[in-house]
């Protein structure tokens, strides 16, 4: 067989389109930076040397040579300086170290909660859109009932019963926020079900799972991805809000929301305690939204694929 050049797939073309948006591309770089920071936190912020030579005369210190829980009351409420880049809190803990570890919570909540609800939403939306009939009725009514609850207060109530923990937050956000994705996927599936290529697959005798996963889902996934990106931003914001209200992670574990929460008492004398986590949350949410919008533009149907 002659050498055949493989044509670019749909996602390659989306990527090509996406990269033309510089702001969104830099947003993606920023998110990559956040991920590296969260995964590498134990090596970025630690008081133990990362590497020492054989004699111990020279040691390589971590970029932030403090742990997030290491306190020093002599250094409490210090403004940013060359030892503590982002200052210290009322117990003399390094804010930079706490911020780095706090990013793990934000990332975990964002990814896990969104992962849970995207999975639920795709499953229910696909079943409703593909089978229609009573399955659709049940799922659609369930969606309408879920939408009636104000999510944030539902989460607050459930957390009050279950006790504040990061896992509870992830699970509760995951179990309460699937309606948007489910409606999106249901709508896409209703549209796709009548498309000729889906009908052709059915006429060929393809099984339901083959039709759903090989033919319909890949064509419905792009808007889901966009929605999930916005969802990560929303989940981070919910976690910060909950931690700010004291329903989030236990106080000794740093999260961006809890750092912000503790800063309230010292707002007039320690501006950095408010500004740093506040700016981090603001920038991260904004970047996720920029990336989501970039993705939405890149998969625009006018991009003829």
């Amino acid at each position: 067989m002659a050498t055949i050049k493989k044509s670019p797939s749909y996602w390659k073309m989306v990527w090509r389109q996406y990269r033309r948006n510089h702001l969104a591309t830099w947003g993606l770089v920023f998110i990559a930076f956040l991920i590296v920071m969260a995964l590498g936190a134990p090596w970025i912020a630690t008081n133990k040397p990362l590497w020492c030579n054989a004699s111990g005369s020279y040691c390589l210190k971590a970029p932030i040579p403090y742990t997030p829980t290491q306190y020093n009351l002599d250094e409490s409420l210090m403004p940013p300086n060359r030892h503590h880049w982002l200052g210290t809190d009322e117990q003399g803990r390094d804010v930079a170290a706490r911020m780095v570890f706090g990013s793990r919570i934000s990332l975990a909540v964002g990814v896990v909660a969104v992962g849970i609800y995207v999975a639920i939403g795709i499953l229910l939306g696909a079943l409703a859109g593909y089978y229609g009939g009573w399955v659709d009725q049940v799922v659609s009514r369930a969606i309408e009932i879920m939408i009636c609850f104000p999510t944030f207060f539902l989460i607050l109530t459930l957390l009050a019963f279950l006790g504040p923990s990061i896992y509870n937050i992830m699970i509760i956000i995951g179990l309460t926020s699937w309606t948007g994705i489910a409606r999106l996927v249901r709508g896409e599936f209703l549209k796709l079900k009548n498309q000729d290529f889906v009908q052709a697959a059915i006429a060929l005798g393809a099984s339901d799972s083959r039709v759903i996963f090989r033919h319909m889902l890949p064509n419905a996934l792009a808007p889901v991805l966009v929605s999930a990106t916005f969802g990560v931003a929303a989940a981070i914001l919910i976690e910060s809000g909950l931690s700010f209200l004291g329903f989030g992670v236990p106080p000794h574990i740093p999260s961006w929301g809890s750092i912000l929460s503790q800063s309230q008492e010292f707002m007039d004398i320690a501006w950095w305690l408010t500004l740093v986590p506040g700016a981090a949350i603001f920038i991260t949410i904004t970047v996720y939204n920029i990336v989501g919008e970039g993705l939405r533009d890149a998969i625009d149907p006018r991009l003829k694929v």
Binding site: M1, A2, F197, Q199, A203, G205, N219, V305
Partner: protein, 325 residues
């Protein structure tokens, strides 16, 4: 010739969404009591205006739709109400070609994946690799082997329709329902596709049910022609008699075919009005509101199909008298 397909008294209607609260549920009556049969190796053309139910009929025959009532005998087995799971063997034998070549191919799959799928679904294992089978199919429809790794959007409409045909004939089916396979294509491309379909039919000896609104296409391809109007069959005639139809509707269709002759005078006024709503089909003969030969009887009594000459079946009370004029 043995009968491959026998259709008797097929009905299908679709509910309309109620616009007012408490409104009675209404239906679009797409197919209303259609009966005919198809012999093996034959090419049957089904012709009619848009909205006459011919696509619905085609989709019921390949069982993408389930009829409300009536029977579809395929090789003397009724498949009209079989559940989807019991149709696996049937699906291998009966395939469909779609109208819109831009919608009928999955945009996320390469041609190799699209054409390989029939073999995967039906678990065909031969000594040849799947890639070789796909290459053979591409050769059959005159596409280069290098098309294999391309995506559908890289092809023209005619090329895509070739891929659609290749997919339909991949498993060498006995019956192919072609649902307006030409109407989305340029005239020059149409001729190529017709030639290709005839070529494949000659090779594999398959039966083709050609659904179209184009008189010239059926006249070229079909042995036998069925004329549909508002979900019913109005006339059945051999292709050789296409120029001498007996039913006023078929005559009107024939008149509507443009002829490149400026001196030719129209023998008849063009058909007035639109097709009546399939939600509330007219009483009596469905064609009476537009028929130039309408008489009182046509408004009350639905004409039954009756054989005038061998092979020519007509649903018109006054077919003989109209033919004399």
């Amino acid at each position: 010739m043995s009968k491959l397909l026998t259709i008797s008294d097929l009905y299908k209607s679709f509910p309309i969404r109620r616009s007012k609260l408490g409104e009675k549920r209404r239906f679009v009556h797409a197919v209303r009591g259609v009966s005919f049969d198809v012999a093996e190796g034959e090419t049957v053309g089904i012709i009619g205006e848009s909205g006459c139910g011919k696509t619905t009929l085609g989709r019921m025959i390949v069982r993408l739709l389930k009829p409300d009532s009536g029977r579809i005998l395929y090789n003397d087995v009724d498949i009209s109400q079989k559940p989807a799971k019991a149709l696996h063997e049937f699906r291998r034998d009966v395939q469909i070609i779609f109208q819109d070549p831009f919608a009928s191919l999955n945009p996320r799959m390469t041609v190799e994946q699209i054409l390989g799928e029939p073999f995967i679904i039906h678990g065909i294992k031969r000594r040849k690799s799947r890639r070789e089978l796909v290459a053979e199919l591409l050769q059959l429809v005159n596409l280069p082997e290098s098309s294999m790794l391309k995506y559908p959007h890289e092809f023209s409409g005619g090329q895509r329709q070739r891929i659609g045909i290749a997919r339909a004939v991949a498993l060498k089916p006995k019956l192919i329902v072609a649902d307006e396979p030409l109407s989305a294509l340029d005239v020059t491309i149409q001729a190529e596709i017709i030639a290709l379909m005839q070529d494949i039919q000659k090779k594999f000896g398959m039966t083709i049910l050609m659904i179209t609104h184009d008189m010239k296409v059926v006249a070229n391809m079909a042995n036998r022609i069925l004329v549909m109007y508002l979900g019913q069959i109005m006339e059945e005639l051999p292709a050789s008699q296409i120029l001498t139809p007996r039913h006023p509707y078929t005559m009107a269709l024939l008149e509507a075919v443009p002829v490149a002759d400026p001196r030719r005078k129209k023998a008849m006024v063009p058909l007035a009005g639109d097709v009546p709503s399939a939600v509330t089909p007219p009483r009596g003969c469905p064609f009476h509101p537009r028929c130039p030969y309408k008489q009182a009887r046509c408004e009350t009594e639905d004409p039954k199909l009756r054989t005038l000459t061998p092979g020519n079946v007509v649903a018109c009370h006054f077919a003989e008298e109209i033919a004399k004029r």
